[in-house]
């Protein structure tokens, strides 16, 4: 697990340094898939961080800010510290470090962002949606990513993932079954 965690964090660090939105998106996808297989909340947090950093890079008004180079340096330093902690199996400290990166991104977003729903919340919804798409239940996907259930469910509604879900019983069959139940237990 340590090695895969280090590899993920290194990919996030390299992609952020290279300003690669695609690299960050791909690292997020791999991190959430591993998190779902292993029920690993730290990897889910890495997915949230990687996705939100990609979003930060995509916003021109963030990049144009005179504070951006300082902010970017500070985020990169924290991610590299997380790499070191993962390498030395300091998982308690790693967890705190990941929370600190999340707080830094949230602060940047609060300062420069334009929406009530912050970037970290959006990243949690996106990663939880990926976990649900992989097969986890709604509660498990939310628990893994610390995502709000209602926010996730509303997001899922606008994706096409339920189009691929096999129809085990259709609406008519379920309604007929309900009617049978009601008839059986009629007072």
């Amino acid at each position: 697990m340590t090695e895969s965690m280090v590899l993920l964090l290194e990919r996030v660090s390299k992609a952020f340094l290279a300003k690669s939105e695609l690299g960050l998106r791909e690292a997020a996808n791999d991190a959430i898939a591993q998190a779902a297989f292993e029920n690993d909340s730290k990897k889910a947090e890495i997915a949230v961080i990687s996705y939100s950093l990609g979003k930060l890079l995509s916003k021109a008004h963030f990049q144009r800010s005179k504070n951006w180079p300082r902010v970017a340096d500070s985020i990169l330093r924290e991610i590299n510290e997380a790499v070191s902690l993962a390498r030395s199996d300091e998982f308690g400290l790693l967890e705190k470090k990941l929370s600190s990166v999340v707080s830094t991104v949230a602060k940047v977003d609060f300062e420069f962002g334009n929406y009530w729903q912050n970037l970290i919340e959006k990243a949690r919804v996106k990663q939880a949606s990926s976990a649900y798409a992989l097969g986890l239940s709604l509660s498990q996907a939310c628990g893994l990513t610390c995502c709000d259930k209602q926010a996730l469910f509303n997001y899922i509604g606008f994706t096409k993932m339920h189009e691929e879900t096999p129809v085990l019983k259709n609406i008519s069959e379920r309604v007929d079954r309900l009617k049978e139940l009601l008839a059986e237990k009629k007072p």
């Binding site: 779902a36 239940s137 709604l138 509660s139 709000d148 996730l152 085990l168 008519s172």
Partner: protein
């Protein structure tokens, strides 16, 4: 009395789209008993009460509980024991690389425990994974394998135990409850009692997250 146990996903779809009144009419019309586990109340009322975006839905649901047409089942030792049993079975039945996949969590597991303890008649679940695990776990296995692009193994003895414990539960979604309400003319006064009213209602719960496909809705509407 017919008892239906709700998990939070159905409540989210129903309250999000303002269909609580229609659900209440179903309750009155048939003397249905609607119950939710304590954890679902926490998730659907307590937690969102403090989030401005979701506060309205929480307030609506809280009122339904205060008006006593939705009943909260408190935690108990018997429920905790059933919960642990369902957690052990459901989260050790699917494997990738010999590691068990943790598929379900508190929301769904408590709904299963309450369903079993009350010997209830139906489970109302809008999310896909728990419903498929109960209705056809091997189709769920194929779905996960395809989505994860990995081999997924199952422990058939655990799946059988799960099935034996629950029997073959009737599972319904918010769209099915709305279709039932429509067939009993319970839309009147709330929404147009017309095919268009039904169509709008079904698509709205789909867009609120209910696991139903567009094709399924279209096919159903053809038969109405």
């Amino acid at each position: 009395m017919t008892t239906i146990v709700f998990d939070s996903s159905v409540l989210i779809s129903i309250t999000e789209k303002c269909f609580l009144k229609i659900l209440q009419r179903l309750h009155h019309q048939h003397g249905l008993r609607f119950v939710i586990p304590q954890s679902v109340f926490e998730e659907a009322v307590h937690h969102p009460e403090s989030i401005r975006r979701f506060e309205l839905n929480a307030v609506r649901l809280k009122q339904a509980v205060m008006d006593r047409w939705i009943e909260v089942i408190p935690q108990s030792d018997a429920l905790r024991s059933l919960y642990a049993e369902f957690a052990e079975l459901s989260n050790n039945s699917f494997f990738v690389n010999e590691k068990p996949l943790q598929l379900l969590q508190a929301g769904e597991l408590e709904a299963l425990a309450v369903f079993k303890s009350l010997n209830a008649d139906a489970l109302a679940i809008d999310e896909r994974t728990c419903r498929m695990m109960l209705e056809d776990p091997y189709r769920l296995q194929s779905l996960i394998a395809r989505r994860m692009d990995r081999q997924v193994q199952t422990d058939s003895s655990r799946l059988k135990k799960l099935s034996d414990l629950l029997g073959r539960p009737t599972v319904v979604r918010s769209c099915d409850l709305l279709a039932l309400a429509f067939s009993e003319k319970l839309f009147e006064g709330e929404l147009s009692q017309s095919k268009q009213g039904l169509e709008a209602a079904l698509w709205s719960v789909k867009f609120a997250g209910c696991a139903v496909s567009g094709i399924e809705i279209t096919d159903f509407l053809r038969s109405v």
